[in-house]
Each structure stands twice: as C-alpha cells, then as structure tokens.
Amino acid sequence: MKKLSARRRHPLAAVVVLLFALAVTGGLYAAFAPAESAKADDTAQSLAIEEGKKLYSVGCASCHGTGAQGTSDGPSLVGVGSAAVDFQVRTGRMPMQQQGAQAPRKKPVYTQAETDQLAAYISSLGAGPAVPSKDQYSPDGGDIAKGGELFRTNCAQCHNFTGKGGALSNGKFAPSLEDVDPKHIYEAMQTGPQNMPSFPDTTMSQKNKKDIIAYLDEVNTSKSESPGGLNLGGLGPVSEGLFGWIFGLGALIALAIWVAARTAKAKKS
C-alpha cells in the first residue's frame, strides 16, 4: 500500500482514475442497459420485423404505401398496433380483394406466423394496441348476463340483438359475429376496424370485454341452444313473417286444396 499511497499525488494519478472510472461505467453499461439493444440486432424480434417488412412490401404496400404512411387507397398504419394487424389479416379482410364499401371477412391469405411478422413490422413503426393474451379474451370466467346488457347497450345498434349483423349506409355493414374467434372479437373492440368505433380499455374495461365475449359465446355460436326450435337466422320478424307466409299459410292452403279435392261423391245408380 505504500507504493500506492506514495504515488497518489502523482501528476498522472487523476488521469488513471478517470480512465478507470470510464472503464467501469462503460463496462457496467455494456453489461446492463445497452446489452439488450446491442443483442437485439440479431434476435427473433428483428428478424420478424425484417420478414414482416418483406411481406408488407409485397402484399400491402400498394395501398398503404411503402413506409405504411398511407395513400389515397389505404390509411396509414403507423400506430395501429399489432392487434389491428392480427384482426384484419387473420379474418381475411386484408389484403383486400378489391376496393369497396367495406372489406368482407374471407379465408385468410397469410398464416399465423406470417401475420405475426407483419404485426411485428407494423408495431415497430409506432406504438398501438397489442395482440391480447389468451386469458384476456377467453370467454371463461366472463359474466354472461352482464355481457348481454353491455352488448345491447354498445353493440346491438349495428350487430343486432345477438350479433347476427346488420346494414349500415351505402353498402357498409356490421358483420355477423357468429362463430368469430374470441381473440378477433377482442381485437375488434380494441382497435375499431373499418366502420366500427373502438372501445379502448379506458372506455370499456378488459373485464367488460370478456363479459361481452362470454355472452356471444353463449348465444351466438353454432353450438348455442335455441330452446324454441329453428331460430330462422335470428333476424326477427322479417324472417318469421316470411316463414309464416311460405310454410305456415302455404301448408294450410295445401291442406285446403287437399280437403276440397276430396269431396263426397253422389252415388251412381
């Protein structure tokens, strides 16, 4: 220690200490905070973004622009979030087949893996709602009755009492929600696709979204019970009236013709 104490007044001591401090700070920095970003450059995430960008430039850029900034044919995708991408692409709405009042649901073009890559690219452009986790959107544990009330208050105006869909102006429409994946219902509420308003968590809590999904899962899937018999599309009095006229009155007229054709014959003498 004598050597050290003898040299601490050395003119170069300050330089040595400074170098040492810099080395420690730099070392610590290298060890902790920047370590992730430095590593990320060659991880799955950046690969996904890269791949997503490639897919994007082939399938989406013609309408949404090369940097997803939007064109006259399609809106900007900056900040829409991965939930929006997952919803639009996995329900087959995007890529659009043709420009029209609204993109209809169809068979998805991209696989889930490709969609995740697209979502990664789009969310790298700006923060937005993320794809929900399974415990967020699963109908298990939701309050069905509360969900029904919420549905009738917030959704039925466009989607009908039990989510059978309805018309909007000029060829636009609210689609039927029958058998839609709970994940996509959740994402739709989060992001408000196409003509739908969005219901962020500040407007409608995660719990309430779950309740609505639980309600739809109870009343509007192909396995939902219909205690009264055929539900005739669940469209209400129009389909009931049509059924009543065609099968109700139709059957009765057929019976009347049958009865009238079988008349008592006068005996031939």
Binding site: I144, P227, G234
Partner: protein, 547 residues
C-alpha cells in the same frame, strides 16, 4: 213446424222414443232448435279450396283465443322492476319488468308454456296472412258485390283490427324489440300536429315509457279488441249464411242457386276435420320454429336499441313507410312539425282504406244495382284485377322498405339504393303493374275467345293431302264453352243526351260527368275483348274444320 205433429205421426204409442230424440225434443221445446236446424242444416256450400281460406282465418282465430287464455294464466301485465332469478342463465341477475320476467317464466318454467306461446304467435301471423289472402280472393273474384258490401267491410275491419290486436299483443312482453316498436308508435303519436304531445301523455300515462302501457295494452289486447273482433266474426258468419255462398261460374250454376254439398253432414265433417288440420299444422310449425325469442332480445330499456328492429309482418308496411320517408320537418314559432313521421302516419290508413272502398267505387261507376252470386274470373274484370294487383304491389314494395336492412345485408346491396328504389317504386310500380295486369287480362280474354271459337290446341300437326300442315284443334266440351262464355261484359255508362225528348235542355252535373268518365275508363271499348257469341260459334263450327 210443430214437434207434436211429427211425434204423433212418427212414433207409435207405447214405445219410448230413443234418448237422443227425447233430449232433442226437450231442447226444441225451449230453444226452437228444430226450425233453426231445418233452415240451416241443409245450407249448401260450394266446393273450392279458395272458399276455405276464410276457414283458415276462423280456425286460427279460435286457436289464438284458446292459447291466449292459457297465457293469461301466467302472464303478469306489470311494469314493476324485478331482478330475474329464473332458469335462463344469460339473463340471471338482470333488472327487467315483471311483464318480461313472467314471459321468461312462461317460456322456460311453465309446462308447455313456450309451445303455447309459439302457437299463439305463429297463429297470429298466419291469421293475418290468411285474412290478407282471403280478402284478395274475395276482391279478385268480385265476391264483394251486392249484397255483400257490408260483409266485405266487416272482413276488412277484422284485418285492420287484427293488425292492432297483434301489435298490442307482441308489445306485452316488454322486450327490447317490442319496446322499440312502442317507441315508434309514441313517435308517430307525437308527430300529430297540435295534440301529439297530449295524446302521447294520455296513452302512456306520462312521459314514455312510463309504468302503465303494458297494463293498458293488456286490457286492449285481451278484452277490447278481441271482443270487437269476435262480434265481427259472428256477424261475418251470419251474413255468409244469410247471403248464401258465392260460386264460380259453370254449367248448372246460376245467380239463383248454389251448387255444392249440404252443411250437415258433409261440411260439418269437413270443417271439423279442417279445424284439426289447421290446429295440427300450426302446432307443428310452433314446435319446429321459434318465434319472438324474447330471451335473446333482452328486456326493454329506453337507452338501448338494436338494428334489424322490425314489427311483425302485418305492420311491416307501416315500418316501410317510415323507413323510406325523407326526414322532413318544419319549424315554426318554436314548434316542430315532423312531416317525416306524420306523412307516413296519414298515408298508412289511406292506402289500406283504398282497397276497402273499391267496391263502392265500382258499384258507383257501373251503376249496377243487381245482386251477384256468381263470381267473376279475374281476367273478365280487367280494371278491378289491375287495381288489386297495383294495391298489392304498393303493399309489397313497402314491405321491402320495411326490411331494407335485411335486403341490403343478404343481397349485398346498398341500403341507400334500396331506399331510393322503394321511394320511386311506391309510385311507379303500382302504375306499371296496373298497366301490365290489364294487358295480361285482355290477352287472357283473347285466348278464351280463341279457345271457344277454335278449340284447344292439341299439339298434333297434320299434313293435308295437298301438302299443307295444320294443327288439330280439339273442340271444347259444352261445359267448358259455358264456363268461358257465361259472364256478362258490362257496358260503360253514357251521359244522358243534353236535350231530352221533350226538347228541354239539361246539364249533366260534375259528379255525373266524372262517373261516366270513370265508367268509360273501366269498361270502355278497348277494355274488353268481345266474347265469342253463339252466332260466331255457329258460323265457324258449321263451316269447314279448323280455319
């Protein structure tokens, strides 16, 4: 008739009459049933399926009353708020009116309740549809002519009241769909100038929805309207028996007879059996298909509304009028006149009553005061048939308007385009159908004439010795000839000469002139193909074969 005489003649002294006869005698002494039975049991009814449409209505009405009585045993017409704890899980814990909760109770917890509810509702739809078709049968065959004009009005009134009985009925469960319908009616009431708000307060006992309307609709639905309708049904049937039934033209059928089967035993058996067929068919439909699933629709809350909120079909016409009417309104001196709602409210009865008043217009234009018991074939009354088709066209165009959203979603059309189609179609399509129907009727008359004179085209082509090809026409039978030529062809009215035979000038009144103009437009020269006369027939058939 006296029972004493028949007894003296019919039964030997010492032998006791059979029990049935003694009961009948006892009843006759007090009720006079023998003379009633003598007058009515042998009443003749002609056989035709279209004459059974009225029976369909009668029986479905009876079914509605029977099932309705069952429903009243369990329904609570109250708007008190309750919390649901019944067996339908998706509504447990929800607040709702007692009316809604008791309807859920009927549907899920009362034995047979849901089936009876569905029979009641399906029978109501079929009752109204049956009345519509029955009314059209009577219209197109001219069965409304003298002496049956009043019975026609009774029938029309039954249809009209049936619409409102149905409306008050489906509003009772106080569900979200019917509540929207009641809100619609409240809007229509409010649109009445000057007194609208007062009327609305009167109907709902305060601000909509209040706590009264279910109880009020209940007494209207189960007592007032069905009571009136039952009375009308009885009057309708009494008049049918009193006037005797109409019949289609045919050999042996005249204005003075009825060809058919007696009420007893043939028609009693047929009608009785047909009642059970109708009941069975409606019950089967109610067991197969659900109607008005109020548990899916949810309880009414004025702050909620659903798309696809339509009334039952018989009110769809009114719904269409409202949906396609532009939302016009006028603001004067701080008051609003909501024409977008008020004009449909006025058009609604006008269109309906147009068909009801046609018989009187026709009687006025023909000046015909005779009784008619032989029906017209629709083609032989082209103007009437065309008017009826035009009326139906207007009605159904409005039904399209009432379901415009479902047309849009199911046929991938624009809602706005459909609305515009209905707006224009309401005026144009009836006119086009009127013209087309009249032309078709004329064509059919011409075909009848050809058939009478030249026979039926047999499809057999024959080559004559000199090489000519001809089609063989089969001559009609005498019966067919009679059926095709028995009808009268009315002549249009003429204005009486301006100067009468004494040389006194007279002026035709405006009404007179209008009447003649109308008569000419209905029965003028180009409105009929002159039917084949006996002379023409003689000339053609006595000469050489087919040409």
């Amino acid at each position: 008739m006296s029972t004493a005489e028949t007894k003296a003649a019919g039964s030997k002294p010492g032998r006791k009459a059979p029990a049935g006869e003694r009961v009948a005698d006892w009843a006759d002494g007090r009720l006079g049933i023998y003379s009633l039975a003598k007058a009515n049991m042998r009443k003749i009814f002609p056989d035709h399926w279209s004459f059974m449409l009225g029976e369909v209505c009668l029986y479905s009405f009876l079914i509605i009353i029977l099932t309705g009585v069952y429903l009243t045993l369990f329904f609570h017409p109250s708007m008190n708020e309750v919390v649901y704890h019944g067996s339908y899980v998706p509504l447990q814990g929800q607040r709702m009116s007692e009316a809604f909760s008791s309807t859920l109770h009927i549907s899920f917890d009362v034995r047979g309740g849901l089936l009876i509810r569905q029979i009641h509702h399906w029978a109501a739809l079929i009752f109204l549809a049956g009345m519509f078709v029955h009314m059209m049968r009577v219209f197109f065959t001219g069965a409304f002519r003298k002496p049956r004009e009043i019975n026609w009005l009774f029938g029309f009134l039954l249809f009209f009241l049936g619409m409102f009985t149905g409306f008050t009925g489906y509003s009772l469960p106080d569900d979200l769909l019917s509540g929207t319908g009641v809100r619609f009616v409240d809007g229509a009431i409010l649109s009445v100038p000057l007194i609208g708000t007062y009327l609305s307060m009167l109907v709902f006992g305060g601000e909509f929805p209040g706590g009264d309307f279910v109880a009020r609709f209940y007494s209207v639905h189960i007592l007032l309207l069905p009571g009136i309708m039952l009375g009308l049904v009885v009057a309708h049937l009494i008049l049918v028996i009193y006037h005797k039934h109409t019949q289609y033209p045919g050999p042996g059928r005249t204005e003075k007879n009825v060809v058919g089967m007696p009420l007893l035993p043939v028609y009693m058996a047929k009608a009785g059996g047909f009642f059970f067929l109708v009941f069975g068919a409606i019950a089967a439909i109610a067991a197969i298909a659900t109607i008005n699933p109020i548990w899916e629709i949810g309880p009414y809350r004025p702050d909620q509304v659903s798309t696809g909120a339509q009334p039952d079909w018989y009110m769809g016409f009114a719904e269409g009028l409202i949906r396609v009417m532009p939302g016009w309104e006028i603001n004067i001196w701080g008051h609003t006149l909501v024409l977008g709602v008020f004009i449909p409210l006025v058009i609604f009865p006008l269109v309906l009553f147009a068909i009801a008043l046609w018989p009187f217009l026709e009687a006025w234009a023909t000046g015909d005061k005779r009784e008619h018991h032989l029906l017209d074939r629709p083609r032989n009354a082209p103007t009437r048939t065309a008017f009826g088709v035009a009326w139906i066209a207007a009605y159904f165009v409005m039904l399209i308007g009432g379901g415009n959203d479902l047309w849009a979603t199911h046929f991938h059309l624009s809602l706005n385009a459909i609305t515009w189609f209905v707006r224009i179609g309401f005026f144009v399509i009836p006119v086009l159908s009127f013209i087309a129907t009249r032309r078709i009727c004329m064509g059919l008359q011409r075909r009848d004439r050809e058939k009478v004179l030249h026979g039926r085209e047999s499809g057999i082509i024959k080559r004559l010795p000199h090489g000519e090809f001809v089609e063989v026409h089969e001559p009609l039978t005498q019966e067919q000839l009679h059926t095709l030529t028995a009808h009268e062809q009315p002549k249009p009215l003429e204005l009486e000469p301006e100067v009468d035979k004494n040389g006194v000038a007279r002026k035709a009144s405006m009404g007179q002139k209008m009447k003649v103009r109308l008569s000419k437009s209905m029965y003028g020269e180009d409105k009929f193909v002159p039917k084949a006369t006996a002379e023409e027939y003689q000339e053609i058939t006595s000469g050489h074969g087919h040409h």
